[in-house]
Every structure is written in structure tokens, then in C-alpha cells.
Symmetry: C2
Subunit: 188 residues, 2 copies
């Protein structure tokens, strides 16, 4: 054959990586197959050597996004004591708000995932539950896992729908202070 043994796999990986960026920036539905392929300097026809359909790319892409994100956010036993607090700070940053293409998938593709197939949503649920469990266990707080996640996702959405950088920073810093305060809150 005219291509190396690993060529197809490499192309697929490049395609997935670029697609994840593009989809988070412009929306998955808003990006055509030709645009995904052009981003890796290829033409539309070659797409179907790697995926049966555009929908299959979406499934793969969401799977990878959640795998990477949850692994990064959850942390392991070697993580420092303030691991969650650190992740919250970097998640709730202007840099994150200004760069959806390299950020968390939920504030960008959340609504599209919500409309996706039960199979996709079941896999998303599994990944999110692992992250929630990790955070709740680490903080010894049953509610905090889901609540901190929600605070992160919601604050990013708000930060991105406003126009001024000033308001964007207000939203993010209010959210950060709010969460710090809860660490000292009483539990019944």
C-alpha cells in the first residue's frame, strides 16, 4: 500500500483532535464534514474512511472529551490536599472562558449532548458520576460533587454570553468566592 501501517490511525487521531477543538468553538451541528477535514488539510470525501457518519464522530468526540476532562479534574491519590480548589480556580478563569476550543465540553456542547441519543447520554452520565464521586469523596461532602460541577459549568456559560470583559470577570470571581465560602459552611 502507498501509506504506512500507522497512517490511518494517525489521521484518525489528528481528525479527532481538531474536530474536538472546532466543535467546541463553532458547535458540532454548525460545523460541516468538509470543515472538519479541511482543518487537517484533507478533503471531505476522505472522512468516511474513518467514520461511518458524522453522528459517529460526535459520539467518539464526546467520549474522548469526557474521558480527558474527568480524568484531569478528578485527580488521583497523589494529588495535593487542595486539588479540588486548584481545579476550581483554573476552571473558573478568564482564560478558560475566552478559549472554548481548549476548554471543557459541557459549556459548549452541553445542549447538543442533551439532544443526543440515550447511548451517548448514558456514557456521559457514567463519566460525570466518576468525577462527582471523586470530588465528593475528596471533600467528604455528598452534595459538593454535583454542586461544584454545576457551579463551574453554569459560570462558564454566563461568562461567555456577556459582552464585557469586566462583567465576565465579575461572574467568575463571584463564583470563586461563593465556593470558598461554602467550605466553611455548616452541614446539618
Amino acid at each position: 500500500m502507498r501509506y504506512s501501517a500507522t497512517h490511518k490511525q494517525e489521521t484518525r487521531e489528528k481528525l479527532l483532535n481538531k474536530s474536538r477543538e472546532l466543535a467546541k468553538k463553532e458547535g458540532f451541528g454548525g460545523t460541516g464534514v468538509d470543515a472538519f477535514m479541511k482543518a487537517i488539510d484533507m478533503t471531505g470525501g476522505a472522512f468516511y474512511t474513518h467514520f461511518e457518519s458524522k453522528a459517529e464522530l460526535f459520539a467518539e468526540l464526546v467520549e474522548q472529551e469526557l474521558e480527558f476532562s474527568t480524568e484531569m479534574l478528578a485527580g488521583d491519590e497523589d494529588a495535593p490536599a487542595d486539588h479540588v480548589a486548584r481545579k476550581l480556580r483554573s476552571y473558573l478563569s478568564s482564560a478558560h472562558a475566552l478559549h472554548p476550543e481548549t476548554g471543557c465540553v459541557l459549556p459548549t456542547l452541553g445542549p447538543e449532548i442533551a439532544r443526543a441519543s440515550p447511548e451517548i447520554k448514558a456514557r456521559v452520565e457514567k463519566a460525570l458520576k466518576r468525577l462527582r464521586d471523586a470530588w465528593s469523596e475528596r471533600l467528604d461532602d455528598d452534595d459538593a460533587g454535583w454542586a461544584l460541577l454545576a457551579q463551574c459549568v453554569g459560570a462558564l456559560i454566563l461568562a461567555r454570553v456577556v459582552e464585557s470583559e469586566r462583567t465576565r470577570r465579575e461572574i467568575l470571581s463571584a463564583s470563586r468566592r461563593f465556593l470558598e465560602r461554602v467550605e466553611k459552611a455548616p452541614r446539618e
Copy 2:
């Protein structure tokens, strides 16, 4: 003319109302002009008597959504003392999560608004700031306005991307309990 004096205005209102529902359910970009018109039993061609373009409909639709939502959530001086707590409970309900078409626009069209024009985002910002101010003033808590809004939007997104009704309820109830707890939290 063959139509009453108020006919055009009535049609436009019907179109806007139905479009707001449809866009929140299927996404604005994912819904065609023909689909919007068919929802009020008309054909696509008539759309352009009422709007110059599909983008103009988006601007109008987002404007109305935020006007209605923020007015409803903010409350006025006649509202009961537990006004915000009531709104939080109804926002963070399974009913809301299961019915995007009649719910808040941010968890459904948030990412599309984030990609919209500066003019649209500036108007969204103005409406959101009014709501934030109302809540922060009512709770006498500078951070709570933005933070509660973010928690609401994020929890709805999470509740909608998971598959099982059980997990959906867990997310929403964790979020509600978390917010109740903060009411008793210390402020520095």
C-alpha cells in the same frame, strides 16, 4: 386589504412564541425557517414579511426570552421574603429539566448566544445584570446574585446531559441542598 389591521402583528407574535419554544427544544441553528413557519401552519416564504433574515429572528427571540425570564425571576417589592428561594426550587426541578421548550433560555441556547454578535451579547448582559442586582440586593449578598444564577444554569445543563431520571434528580437535589446550606454560611 384582505387581512385585518392587526393581522400582521398577531402573526409575528405567534411566530415569535412558537419559535422560542422550538429553538429551545431543537436548537436555533438546528431549526430551519420552514420548520418555524410550519409550527404556526404557514409556509416558509411568508417568513420574510416579518423578519429580514433568520438572524434577526434570533436577536428578537433572545431579547424576549431574557426579558420574560429576568422579569419573572427578579421579582418586585411585593414579592414574599422567600422569593429567591422559591424561584430556585422551581428552576432546579425535574419538570424544568424535562421541558426545555418552556424553560430558561440559557441552558439551551447559551452556547449559541456566546457565539452571537456583540450587540446581542450586550443586550443579554444588560438583562442578566438586572437579575443579578435584584437577587444580590434582596439577599444582601454581593456574590450570591451571579453565583446562584450560575448554579441554576449549570445544574440544568448537567441534569439534561445524563440519561437516567435517578441521576437527574440527584443532581438537582444536591444543587438545591447546597444552596440552602450557603444561606447559613459565614461571610468574611
